[in-house]
């Protein structure tokens, strides 16, 4: 079993500690009259087994216990995370439908692909996951191994041997696409990218040898790495990850001076939701985030490389920052940018 003794103890102590700190705060959560009286739905915009789904699953139980109603989840994938927005737009602003979205939303807004400005048109409840990315190869892909260890220089040599040589398994989300373009520019190659919405297909394509390389966040692939099916070959980060000290990183090993884009996931309700419901939900999810159950998840998924919790106010800042950053990157890459940004 993957939960070893030590993190359990750490998580346990952390939980006891947070419980002690949170308990008095909890009494102050003011429950609005007549809310919630029925199950709450969290609408999310990606596949049913991906990182988004798992992060909701981890909060679902704790949040449900605190509120005393069921918390359901509803997946509406497609269109790089935009196909769920019409569904959300059609729900009333009553706090019964919560939207989970990721960094793709500010990015798509910056690109002008949606008019929903996440920093203005949504009420954030929290940001629950923040994670950097890395590149992965098939665990037994001899082309890219030196003495049995993944070797990014070999990947590079292969990628530079011809345009479209290196086939990348990716997702249609700006964070990943932009990161790939930055790498292509910095290292001087042009890859062929195949985009999958479902993580199973994205991983399967590399594990099955149909594609060469996977761009992903460490937590989501950790189980495949442990089983030897995938191997990390490059961390896209200013320093080597503490959890993968042998894996080269773009900053120290390849001199890429760039503040990498982050995967983040947050929960939102519609603007116009009654104030007391918003405040209540913000308090509920903060508490759910800090439960032992959820903290174990954060640990297990390596979502602690950088701090994952952001308060509603910080979430708003994060979103504003992301819109500005993406607008800048898109301009540099010669892509479409929302007029006025």
């Amino acid at each position: 079993m993957r939960i070893t003794f030590k993190p359990m103890v750490v998580a346990g102590i952390a939980a006891l500690f947070t419980a002690a700190v949170i308990a008095p705060a909890l009494a102050e959560i003011k429950k609005p009259a007549n809310y919630p009286t029925r199950p709450i739905t969290i609408l999310f915009c990606f596949g049913k087994a991906g990182g988004s789904a798992q992060s909701i699953q981890a909060l679902q139980g704790p949040a449900s216990k605190i509120m005393g109603v069921k918390v359901n989840m509803l997946s509406k994938p497609g269109g790089g995370g935009l196909n769920c927005l019409p569904d959300f737009a059609q729900t009333p602003a009553d706090g019964y439908t919560i939207l989970q979205h990721i960094d793709a939303l500010p990015a798509k807004y910056a690109a002008g692909a949606t008019d929903l400005n996440p920093a203005e048109d949504l009420e954030p409840l929290l940001i629950m996951n923040v994670a950097p990315s890395g590149l992965y190869i098939r665990g037994d892909d001899k082309r890219f191994l030196t003495n049995g260890k993944p070797d990014f220089d070999k990947v590079l040599a292969y990628a530079r041997s011809g345009e479209g040589k290196l086939a990348v398994s990716n997702i249609n989300v700006p964070m990943e696409l932009v990161t790939m373009s930055v790498l292509e520019k910095h290292f001087g190659f042009k890859a062929k990218q195949v985009l999958f919405a479902k993580p199973a297909q994205r991983y399967g394509a590399v594990i099955g040898g149909k594609l060469d390389i996977l761009l992903e966040q460490p937590g989501d692939v950790s189980k495949h790495v442990e089983a030897g099916k995938l191997a990390p070959v490059l961390s896209i980060w200013p320093e080597r990850f503490k959890i993968a000290p042998d894996t080269k990183a773009t900053g120290p090993d390849y001199g890429l001076k760039w503040s990498p884009l982050l995967r983040f996931r947050g929960l939102f309700v519609k603007k116009g939701t009654p104030k007391e419901i918003v405040t209540y939900l913000q308090a509920v999810f903060k508490e759910a985030y800090n439960t032992k159950e959820h903290q174990a998840f954060i640990k297990r998924k390596s979502l602690d490389i950088v701090e994952s919790y952001r308060s509603p106010a910080d979430a708003k800042k994060e979103l504003e920052g992301a819109i500005a950053t993406y607008a800048k990157v898109f301009k540099e890459l010669g892509q479409k940018v929302r007029p006025g940004l």
């Binding site: 009286t37 029925r38 069921k70 696409l177 990218q193 985009l195 892509q335």
Partner: protein
């Protein structure tokens, strides 16, 4: 074709009309595809490629339907033309038409009503009314079935698994909300 007598039938005439409608729709749809053609950064063929293949298929198939209706229309489709249409006409045609229209229209009214007034309030009336329309006349049956079925639905969907059901608008929205609260 000229050397043989053509068998003109309602089926072939109808096929011809349908083919023309298909062609018109397909051409209109094809024009609309220009709103979203152009390559995507990650897919050269762009968003219009697949729909255009489908539309081209419709044009070819409709063309075949049109051409074939001129000389094979008598053969195809003929056998499946509804015998009931002719039967119906021989009867009290106006009554049948009225009833058929009601069979189509009442469900639509029902959907509109559940949206405005709420599922819980409208459904029993719909159950009762539709059964009556289809010829159920025994009052015991009408009421027993309505109560039984409605009760089962409320029990399963509202009480046990909290399925979202239309709550109506305005005043009815809060009324239904209270009703649901009571049942749960």
């Amino acid at each position: 074709m000229a050397d043989r007598k053509r068998i003109e039938s309602p089926a072939s005439r109808r096929s011809r009309v349908e083919a023309v409608v298909w062609l018109a729709l397909a051409i209109a749809a094809f024009i609309v595809t220009f709103e979203f053609d152009g390559p995507l950064p990650t897919f050269e063929f762009g968003a219009a490629f697949w729909p255009r293949v489908v539309i081209a298929g419709v044009i070819v198939s409709a063309g075949v339907l049109l051409v074939s209706s001129y000389f094979v229309g008598a053969r195809e489709s003929e056998a499946v033309i509804d015998e009931r249409t002719t039967d119906a006409l021989s009867e009290d045609a106006a009554r049948v038409t009225r009833k058929t229209l009601a069979i189509f229209a009442i469900p639509l009214v029902y959907v509109y009503a559940i949206h405005q007034v709420g599922f819980l309030l409208v459904t029993p009336i719909f159950l009762l009314g539709y059964m009556y329309l289809l010829g159920v006349r025994g009052w015991v049956t009408l009421i027993a079935v309505t109560v039984g079925f409605y009760g089962a639905i409320v029990l399963i969907f509202v009480k046990l698994i909290y399925t979202p059901l239309p709550q109506g608008a305005g005043f009815f929205h809060s009324l239904n909300g209270q009703l649901i609260g009571l049942i749960q």
